[in-house]
């Protein structure tokens, strides 16, 4: 691999987005191999610090995906999560982090194609930005 390849952390909720990712695979939809998926029960489980920590660890971008509004397996977990992200995202942009580094989406269990599209877009966005530097902690 000579060309630089971004590494993107994807935190997916178990019931919708992770299932959507599985469906993309079952449907043999092809998307860039740059994401590394972490499964959580619900997008409501995602602490904004997870995002900050993964950027600090050196991931070039982070994608968080949960159930569409109304679809949450846990009734309202994604709504609670949405408020956190709604504040985090503009704050990160405000301090000068490139907006595309951290992205959010809703992907349902039936949206295999959408999963592939989203991952493709996120990967391309981050590839354009180049390697993440701003929040990476050097050890």
């Amino acid at each position: 691999m000579s060309e630089w390849q971004p590494k993107i952390l994807a935190i997916l909720c178990n019931w919708c987005s992770y299932a959507g990712a599985d469906l993309a695979g079952v449907s043999r939809m092809q998307y860039p191999p740059n994401i590394r998926v972490v499964r959580v029960p619900c997008s409501g489980r995602v602490d904004p610090l997870f995002i900050m920590k993964s950027l600090q660890s050196g991931f070039d971008g982070v994608l968080i995906s949960g159930c569409h509004p109304g679809d949450c397996h846990y009734i309202s977990g994604n709504y609670v999560a949405r408020r956190k992200f709604a504040v985090l995202k503009p704050l990160l942009e405000f301090i000068g982090i490139e907006p595309d580094r951290v992205q959010f989406s809703w992907i349902s269990a039936g949206e295999g194609e959408r999963f592939a599209t989203v991952v493709t877009k996120v990967t391309e966005d981050i590839r354009k930005l180049g390697p993440s530097t701003k929040l990476v902690k050097k050890l």
């Binding site: 600090q56 709504y79 408020r83 504040v87 942009e93 405000f94 902690k137």
Partner: protein, 321 residues
């Protein structure tokens, strides 16, 4: 009408009527630029109470100190607009029992920021301060300077729209409701107008100064965790050294932890020994909370804190289409 004498009278009455065991107010401090918190348990102590431009401290912080130290007491408290919101927020967060607190509002015209005064004097020591209303005069060894009040007010006050308590049991003087303030978003908008790299350069410059003393957190009336996430080490959330990414992440997460809870009292910024513009990010977060969820921290005693509430049809422009 004299605010200070009315305030003293109110405190005395509360104590005399046994409505409270303790009143928290301010008294003149040992330095000309700082008033100091005063805990009043007897009527004669009430005569030490003052309220002026130096009374910056948000006294609601004492409710959460030492794990709700006043839990069993009836406490009266003097509040400015921002302090009142802290009290309300603490009530919503079960730190204060509404029944056990008597909120006494005082009319606030802004509190000074010592650092701004010292910038005006080029760092020369101030030995005396006179508040003339629109202007403020300071006297030091070999100089006397006057300047507009607005020049030395805490940045938090310059953007304030609720100078007075909206929730109170007594008010000394006439409380004002929301006061229009054209500067409310000025700083945020100006900063937003910069390019991403300019913003980042500024962030970097500001937060590299951080020495991780946590004064900002420790004076914050909304930061009352028993053990702050940054101090937890099983697991360790974030590094405690002055390494820049750790510092900025600490501050960003703290901003999020006070999202919908920050009353923009400015205590953090005034306490910062490194003079980091901490308010900028807090204000940005407070504005997002207001803009997106319609919430202002501590304004509605019957409401829910913003970050535990939701509406199904909320703006979700940040979610990929």
């Amino acid at each position: 009408m004299n605010i200070v004498s009315d305030l003293r009278k109110a405190i005395k009455e509360l104590l005399a009527d046994k409505k409270i065991d303790l009143f928290i107010g301010w008294e003149k401090g040992s330095l000309p630029l700082s008033a100091t918190p005063l805990f009043i348990t007897s009527e004669d102590e009430a005569d030490r109470a003052v309220f002026d431009i130096t009374c910056g401290n948000n006294l609601s912080i004492y409710f959460t100190k030492d794990r709700k130290q006043f839990a069993d007491k009836k406490v009266g408290i003097a509040v400015k607009g921002c302090d009142a919101r802290s009290v309300v927020l603490n009530i919503l967060e079960k730190q204060i029992d509404r029944e056990n607190v008597v909120i006494v509002g005082v009319p606030c015209h802004g509190v000074l920021d010592k650092k701004k005064v010292l910038a005006k004097t080029d760092g020369r020591e101030v030995l005396e301060l006179t508040d003339n209303g629109d202007t403020v005069t300071v006297i030091g060894k070999g100089y006397e300077l006057s300047f507009d009040r607005s020049e030395i007010l805490s940045s938090s006050c310059l953007a304030c729209i609720y100078p007075d308590a909206q929730e109170y049991d007594m008010f000394v003087g006439e409380p004002r409701a929301e006061v229009p303030n054209e500067n409310r978003l000025k700083e945020i908008k100006e900063f937003e107008a910069l390019s991403t790299s300019e913003r980042w350069a500024h962030t970097r410059e500001e937060y590299e100064k951080c020495i991780r003393c946590y004064a900002c957190r420790n004076v914050c009336p909304s930061c009352y965790c028993n053990v702050c996430f940054v101090d937890q080490n099983d697991p360790g959330w974030i590094g405690n050294t002055c390494e820049f990414t750790d510092s900025i992440i600490f501050h960003v997460i703290r901003n999020l932890h006070v999202a919908g809870r920050c009353v923009e009292c400015g205590a953090c910024a005034r306490a910062c020994p490194m003079d980091i513009n901490l308010l900028l990010l807090n204000r940005k977060v407070a504005w997002e909370v207001k803009d997106r969820f319609g919430d202002i921290a501590g304004l509605d005693i019957n409401g829910k804190p913003a970050m535990v509430d939701f509406r199904e049809d909320e703006k979700q422009d940040f979610i990929m289409g």
